[in-house]
Symmetry: C2
Subunit: 304 residues, 2 copies
C-alpha cells in the first residue's frame, strides 16, 4: 500500500524563486489528504496532476495566510464542479468563521456538506481513524495557535510469502486467518500453516508534518520514530535570532528535533524568501542529521 507525500509548496511567507507557499498531499492507499493550503494550491494540484476530487480531508495547521489562503478557492472549485461528497476540514478555531462569512457574502449555498473539526493545540489528539491509519494533531509553538499532524499506521502491514502460498495452496479462508497473524489449524487442533512462515509483519509507518514552530525540545514526545519527519527550517543557523523572534526554526534546530525524535528521514521546508539557493540549508542540516532532504515542489517522497 502506497504511503506518499507530494510537495505542492515549500516556501514561507510569500511565493518566491518559483516556490509556492505551504501545501502537501499525503496519499495512503486509496486515501488522499491535503496538508495546509497556501494561496494557489488549486493551481499546484492541477500542475502536478493530483486527483484532487479524491481529497475528503483537509488539515490546516494555523491561520497565517501562507498556510490557508488557497482554501476558499479550492472550496469554490469543488462547488462549481458539483462536488457532492462531504469535505472534512480540520483546523483552528476561527477557520469556520472565515469560511462561513465568505460563503455568506458570495451568496453561496454549497452543493456538498462541509464538516469543520476544530483542532486543539494543548496535547496530542487523535483526529481520525481510517482502517489501519490514524491521523493525529499535536501542539506546535508558534505566534498563533498551531498544530502539526501525523499519519500513523496502527499495526504493521502483513506481507504474504508468495512462494509458500503457491507451493502449499492454502484456501482463501486460511489466507485470511494467516493475514490476521493467526496459525491455521485442522479440526484436531494440529497446525497446518504457521503464520510466522507465511507472513512477514512490517513495522508500522509514520509521517509527521510540523509546519511552523519555534525550536521546541518538548516536540519529540509527539513525533517519535517517524519514517519521514517534515520540520520547518525557515532559516539557517546564522539567522537564529530572527528565527527565535518570529517563532520559526533553523535547519540545525530541525535536524536536532529529527535526532532527538529518532526520525529515519528529515524533510526540510518553509524556506525563507531570502534563500534562492537551498543547498547551504541542506548541508547545514546534514551536519547534525545526515538523512536530511530538501522538500521540493512536485516531488513525491515515498515511505516504503
Amino acid at each position: 500500500m502506497d504511503f506518499n507525500i507530494t510537495i505542492l509548496g515549500s516556501n514561507s511567507a510569500a511565493p518566491a524563486h518559483g516556490r509556492n507557499q505551504t501545501s502537501q498531499v499525503v496519499t495512503w492507499g486509496s486515501y488522499t489528504f491535503l496538508l495546509d493550503c497556501g494561496e494557489s494550491t488549486q493551481h499546484q494540484l492541477r500542475k502536478y496532476k493530483i486527483k484532487y476530487f479524491k481529497i475528503n480531508h483537509i488539515f490546516i495547521s494555523h491561520l497565517h495566510g501562507d498556510h490557508y489562503l488557497g482554501l476558499m478557492g479550492l472550496i469554490a472549485t469543488y462547488h462549481l464542479n458539483n462536488r457532492k461528497h462531504p469535505l472534512h476540514i480540520f483546523g483552528p478555531n476561527g477557520l469556520d468563521e472565515i469560511i462561513t462569512i465568505q460563503l455568506k457574502y458570495s451568496g453561496t449555498i454549497l452543493k456538498f456538506p462541509l464538516i469543520f473539526h476544530p483542532t486543539l493545540h494543548s496535547e496530542k489528539i487523535k483526529l481520525l481513524e481510517l482502517g489501519d491509519l490514524e491521523v493525529w494533531s499535536f501542539p506546535l509553538k508558534h505566534r498563533i495557535p498551531c498544530t502539526g499532524f501525523s499519519f500513523e499506521e496502527k499495526t504493521g502491514r502483513v506481507k504474504l510469502n508468495k512462494e509458500l502460498i503457491i507451493k502449499n495452496k492454502p484456501g482463501i479462508e486460511a489466507i485470511r486467518t494467516l493475514l490476521r497473524g493467526q496459525d491455521v489449524l485442522d479440526m484436531t487442533g494440529r497446525v497446518l500453516y504457521q503464520a510466522k512462515d507465511y507472513c512477514e509483519i512490517k513495522v508500522p509507518r509514520k509521517y509527521a508534518f510540523c509546519s511552523d514552530t519555534i525550536y521546541d525540545p518538548e516536540l519529540p514526545q509527539y513525533i517519535r520514530e517517524m519514517d519521514i519527519l517534515y520540520h520547518e527550517s525557515t532559516f539557517m543557523e546564522a539567522e537564529k535570532d530572527r528565527a527565535k523572534l518570529t517563532r520559526h526554526s533553523t535547519t540545525k534546530e530541525a535536524a536536532a528535533i529529527a535526532l532527538a525524535s529518532k526520525a529515519k528521514n528529515l524533510l526540510l521546508g518553509h524556506y525563507s524568501v531570502r534563500y534562492a539557493d537551498l543547498t547551504p540549508l541542506l548541508e547545514e542540516a546534514r551536519e547534525t542529521f545526515p538523512n536530511s532532504f530538501l522538500s521540493e515542489e512536485g516531488t513525491t517522497y515515498r515511505i516504503k
Copy 2:
C-alpha cells in the same frame, strides 16, 4: 501620459487552460490601480513584472471568489515587505469584514493604513479624483451586489506645438497660460500667442471595466464612448440560456453593449472554462462589433 490596461487574469470561475481568474492593472501616468484580484494575482503581478508597490488603490467589483480571493495574500505580502503607505480598497459591503476577521485570526496588526471604501450599486458614483483623472463605480446586474469601474479623464490633455515654441520662444509663464487654453496678451491687451495655434486639445480618454453582468440594456448610460470597454463575455451565443441563468453575458451581448454605448474598442474576457480556444468567441463578437479584441494575460492595451 500613458493610459494602459494590463490583463493579469481573463478566466471565469476557476483557473483553466493556463488562464488565471479576473484581475487587471490600470496605469495612468504615475498611478497604478488594481481591478479585481482573483486568487494568485500576486503571482501574476510578479510574473508580468508590475511594480505592485505602486498600487495604492484596489477596486473589487463583487465578492465572488474568482474576483477577490487573491486580496488577502497581496495584503499579507505588503505587510511582510514593510509597506508603510496607505492602501485604499474600494469594494462591496462585507469585504471589510472578510479582511478584518482574517487579520484578527492571523494575529496581524498591519504595518500600513488600510482604508476601506464601501461601494454602492445603485447609481454611477465618483470614487476618486486624482488630478485630471476620475474613477467611477456604476451598477452591474449580477447574482450578488456588483459594480463596474470607469477611469475617465476630465478634460482633454493639451499637447504643445513644439515647433512654434522653439521658433517664437514664449516664456514659461506664457506657456502655462497657453496650457490652460488661454491666449497670451501683452500689457495693452494685444494677443501675443494664440492658444489655438500653440496647443492641440486631445479628447479625454476613458476606460470602463464591466466584470460580471447579465446583458443589461440600461448599462450604456454609464459607459458612453469609452476608448476601451472591457465587458465580460463568459459564454458564446449558443449558451445564451446558461448566461441568463448565471447572470452572465454572451459575446454577442457584450458586442451589443459596445455598439449601444459607442465604445471605440471592446475587450472580451471572463471566459468560461469550457472554451480552450477563444477564436470563436472573438469571431462571434466581431459580427456585431468589429473592433472587438480578446483580453489576453500579460498583454497591455494602450489608450493613445
